[in-house]
């Protein structure tokens, strides 16, 4: 039987940061279309989320020739490392972050 797994807002943030990290091959950042497609999230929600992530310093906004691109910052990478460690810790207790 197919079971739907809902993501909470923290999980969505982690997914977006991970996509920004993994899809950014030449450190030129990733476009919003890639984030939309791989992140499986609506445009309006992603726009709001990206504004928040840029404001918090987890993602950097780059003004390129063909529009705005997004690159994960050092702070964003640190956040992913911390998330990964504490996710494992919480899972030991059978919990999800």
């Amino acid at each position: 039987m197919f079971k739907v797994v809902y993501r909470n807002s923290l999980r969505i943030v982690v997914d977006i940061l991970t996509i920004a990290k993994d899809s950014d091959i030449e450190s030129k950042g990733v476009g919003i279309t890639t984030l939309l497609r791989k992140g499986n999230i609506s445009y309006s929600r992603l726009s709001r989320l990206l504004n928040d992530l840029v404001r918090c310093g987890l993602i950097e906004e780059i003004n390129a020739e063909r529009g705005v691109r997004y690159r994960i910052s050092d702070q964003g990478r640190q956040f992913l490392i911390a998330y990964s460690r504490f996710e494992e810790f919480a899972q030991s207790f059978g919990l999800h972050l």
């Binding site: 923290l10 990290k21 990478r77 956040f79 992913l80 490392i81 911390a82 998330y83 990964s84 460690r85 504490f86 494992e88 810790f89 919480a90 899972q91 030991s92 207790f93 059978g94 919990l95 999800h96 972050l97």
Partner: protein, 211 residues
């Protein structure tokens, strides 16, 4: 014989307090870094358990006159420790309840509520609540193991069962005539249960996160 058992119980309570403080501190650091509500609930659970175990140690040591200055407050410490531990175990079980879907939650809550009926004395009543909360927490952790297949989750689930049975044995030592047997059994089970709580601490300390 009995005073030796009490001193062992007090030392174990201090170890429990130390474990509770360490896990609470790690969970708090995680909450500060990620803002996860699950880690906030885990912090609350283990801070209450830290306070509960500390009060339990104070109760035991004042009862055997190791800390004479607190002798008069021994019964207060006993009730306070049982209360704080029950609150800690509640937060631990509550974290799992929030992970369960609303329809299933409705089935779980009525199971928990009648079990809080008053028993012979306040401390024993609180211990019985802790027992059921621990059983619930261990079952939910076992279910999480079935999903994730992580060895440390299974170890922790078994540890919570040992702690639950330890609470039951201690409860029996309050009402049974052969109390030294039940009290000793409770201490042995507590040692095993507390040992398993070291697993997530050691694993967390040994891991240097790489993404």
């Amino acid at each position: 014989m009995s005073s030796t058992l009490f001193i062992v119980d007090g030392v174990l309570a201090l170890i429990g307090a130390l474990i509770g403080l360490t896990i609470g501190y790690i969970a708090l650091a995680g909450y500060r870094e990620t803002g996860s509500p699950a880690l906030l609930r885990l912090t609350s659970a283990f801070i209450f358990l830290f306070l509960g175990f500390t009060f339990e140690a104070l109760a035991v040591f004042s009862y055997v006159s190791l800390i004479p200055i607190f002798a008069l407050a021994s019964s207060f410490f006993t009730v306070a420790s049982s209360f704080l531990q029950a609150v800690g175990f509640f937060f631990l079980a509550f974290s799992h309840i929030l992970n369960v879907r609303a329809s299933q939650r409705a089935l779980v809550m009525p199971l928990l509520l009648p079990l809080s009926m008053p028993v012979i004395q306040i401390s024993a009543a609180l211990k019985s609540i802790s027992f059921y909360l621990l059983i619930y927490g261990s079952l939910e952790t076992a279910i999480a193991y079935v999903k994730t297949r992580r060895a440390e989750t299974l170890v922790l689930s078994l540890g919570l069962i040992f702690l639950a049975v330890s609470e039951l044995a201690k409860w029996l030592s309050y009402v049974e005539l052969s109390w030294p047997f039940w009290y000793s059994s409770s201490l042995i089970l507590k040692v095993i249960g507390l040992s398993t709580l070291f697993v997530p601490i050691v694993k967390f300390a040994s891991r240097r996160g790489v993404v």
